[in-house]
Amino acid sequence: MKKVPLIMAVLTVAVMALFPLLRPEVYYLSFLFTLFMYVVLSSSWNVIGGYAGYLSFGHAAFFGIGAFATAKMATAFSLSPLLTILSSIPAGLLAALVALIVGYPCLRIRGPYFSVVTICFAFVVDLAVKNIEELGGAEGLWMTFMDLPEETSRAIMYEVMLLLMVVTLATVYLLGRSRFGRGLTAVRTDEEVAETMAIPTAKLKIQAFVVSAFFPGVAGGLFAYYLSYIHPDAVFSINISILIVLMAMFGGGGTWLGPIVGAVILTVVNEGLSTFAQAEIARIIYGALFIIVTIFMPDGIIAYFRRWATTQRKA
C-alpha cells in the first residue's frame, strides 16, 4: 500500500476501535457487528469468487459450520466466554478442512456448474446438521452469553469482530498482490493458458477455496456466540450465500475494495429500508436497487467509478 492510503486505513480502524468509548447505543454496536461480519464474508468469498472467478454459492455452509462447531464446543465443555470466543478459530479451521475435502472434487468443475455444486453442498450440510441430534437437530443449540452489562458485552464482541475484519482484509490484500493472487487472476482470465504457463492451477484453486472458507467459519463462530442461540435456518440459508455473492459482485468482484463497498452499501440500505418502510415495499426497493445497478454498472460499482475517473482525466 502506498503511504497515504495506509495511513488512512490505520486511522479508520483506530476510529472504529475507539467508537465504543463514546458509549453509543447498543443498536449501533449491533448494526456495526453485522456490517463487519458481512465485510468478512464477502471479502473472503472474493478470494475464490472474485480473484479466481469460481462463483461459490455455498459459502453459508462454511459460515454455518463455524457457528455450529463453536456452539457445540461451548456447550459440550461449558467454555468460559474468552475460550468460547477463541474456539471460533478451531471452528474456522474445521470449515477450512471441509473446504479442502469438498474443494478437491468440486473445483474441477467450471463455470455455472461449479456454482450449482456449491448450492447443493450447502443444502447437504444444512440438511445433515438438521438430522444430527447432537447438534440440536431442527431445534438448534442454546449457549450462555457472558455475564456482563449489555453495553460492555456487546462492545467486546464488536471489537472482536472488528479485529477479525482487519485480519481478513489484510490477508486478502496481501494475497491479492502476491504471486498467489496473480496466479488466481490467471486462472480467472484463462485457465487453459495458465496451465500451459506451468501455473499449478489445481493447487492454487484449492488454497484459495480453503482461505475463503476459514474466515467465514470464524465469523460464524462469533455470530453464534453473539446470538447465543443457533439454528440451522439462521446460518445455512441460501439467502446468506446469495447475499455474500451479491455484495462482492455489486461492489466489484476481483478488486480488494469491491466487496467492502458492496457489503457496506447493501447492509446500510437493508437496515435503512427495514426501519423506514413497510417490509414488502422495502424488499421491492431493495430488488429495484439490484436492477438499476446492474443495468448502469454491469461490472460493479468500483469498475464504473474507475472508468469514470479515467474519462475525467482524459477530458
Binding site: P105, N131, I284, F290, I295
Partner: protein, 291 residues
C-alpha cells in the same frame, strides 16, 4: 417392499417429474441460448399459478383454460422485460453474473408484489374435479395430477416441435450451438433472444399452473422450485429440451420413491447428495449439451 406402493410412487414421481420438466425447459433454453441464468424464472411460474387461482376462485375458469390464456399474455410481458431489462446486459463483461444479479432483483420485486396482492398464505388450485381419481386396479390417479401431467406433456412437445420444425426454432438452436456463426448466417440475435426469453417465460407460466395442480403454493415457493429447476437442467444438459424432459422424469422418480420409503427429512438430503455426486462425475449432464 410392497409392489403396489412402489408402482404408485413411481406413477406420482413420473407426474411430478414431467411438471418440473415443463418448468425447467425454459430455464434451460435461456441459459443455453442467451447465457442468462434467469433467477426469476420460477416467479413467473408462480405468476401463472396465481393467475389461474384468481380466475378459478372468481369466475370458476378451469386451470387448463387459464394456462392457454396466460401463455400469450406472459409472452408479451416477457418481450417487454427482455427489451427493458435483459437486453442492456449484453454490454456487461460477465453476462452470466450480471444476469443473475439483475434477475435476482426482479425475483425479489415480483415475490413481494405477490405478497402484497395475494398475501403470504398458501393457496391451492381446487377445480371441481379436485378430489376425484381415476382408479385402475389398486392404483389411484388423481385428476388434477393427470391434468397437470398432460398439460406439461403438451407444453414440452409443442416447444420441441417448434424448435425442430420452424425456421425461427432452428435459428434458436443455431444461436445455442454457436452465437457467432449464427450471426454470420444472418440470425438476428436480439430477436432470437427475445423470442427465446418470451417462450421460456410463457412455458414457466404453464408449468407453474401444472405444479399448482399438484402442490399448494405461496409467494416464497419459487425458491424451492428454482432449486429443482437447477437440478433438472443440470442433469438434462443445459439447453437440451429432450434431456430436460428425461431428467425431470428421473428426478421425479427418485424423489417419488424416496418419499415413499424414507423419512421425510432425508428425502432432500438424498436428492441433493445425489446431484452433487452426479455433477462431480458428469458436469455436462447425462445427455450432453448437444441434442
Amino acid at each position: 417392499m410392497d409392489p403396489v406402493l412402489v408402482i404408485q410412487s413411481l406413477i406420482s414421481g413420473v407426474m411430478m417429474g414431467m411438471v418440473y420438466a415443463l418448468l425447467g425447459v425454459g430455464f434451460s433454453l435461456t441459459w443455453g441460448v442467451m447465457h442468462v441464468i434467469h433467477i426469476s424464472h420460477a416467479v413467473f411460474g408462480l405468476l401463472g399459478a396465481y393467475f389461474a387461482y384468481t380466475l378459478l376462485t372468481l369466475y370458476g375458469v378451469d386451470p387448463v383454460v387459464s394456462a392457454m390464456v396466460s401463455t400469450p399474455l406472459l409472452f408479451i410481458v416477457a418481450c417487454a422485460v427482455y427489451q427493458v431489462l435483459i437486453r442492456p446486459l449484453t454490454k456487461a463483461r460477465e453476462m452470466v453474473v450480471a444476469s443473475m444479479i439483475l434477475t435476482f432483483g426482479l425475483a425479489i420485486i415480483l415475490e413481494n408484489l405477490l405478497v402484497l396482492v395475494w398475501k403470504a398464505d398458501p393457496r391451492l388450485l381446487t377445480p371441481s374435479y379436485a378430489s376425484e381419481s381415476w382408479i385402475i386396479g389398486p392404483f389411484y390417479l388423481q385428476y388434477p395430477h393427470l391434468i397437470g401431467f398432460a398439460l406439461s406433456l403438451v407444453g414440452i412437445s409443442s416447444l420441441y416441435v417448434f424448435l425442430k420444425k420452424t425456421t425461427t426454432g432452428m435459428a434458436v438452436r443455431a444461436a445455442w450451438q454457436n452465437q457467432e456463426a449464427a450471426r454470420l448466417y444472418g440470425v438476428n440475435l436480439f430477436r432470437i433472444s427475445m423470442i427465446t426469453f418470451a417462450l421460456a417465460v410463457s412455458t414457466a407460466g404453464a408449468g407453474g399452473i401444472s405444479l399448482a395442480l399438484l402442490y399448494s403454493f405461496e409467494p416464497h415457493s419459487h425458491n424451492l422450485w428454482l432449486i429443482y429447476l437447477f437440478l433438472v437442467v443440470i442433469v438434462g444438459g443445459v439447453g437440451n429440451v429432450i434431456g430436460t424432459a428425461l431428467a425431470g422424469l428421473i428426478i421425479g422418480v427418485i424423489t417419488g420413491l424416496s418419499m415413499a420409503f424414507l423419512p421425510y427429512q432425508w428425502v432432500n438430503l438424498i436428492t441433493f447428495g445425489l446431484l452433487m455426486v452426479f455433477l462431480i462425475f458428469r458436469p455436462h449432464g447425462l445427455f450432453g449439451e448437444v441434442g
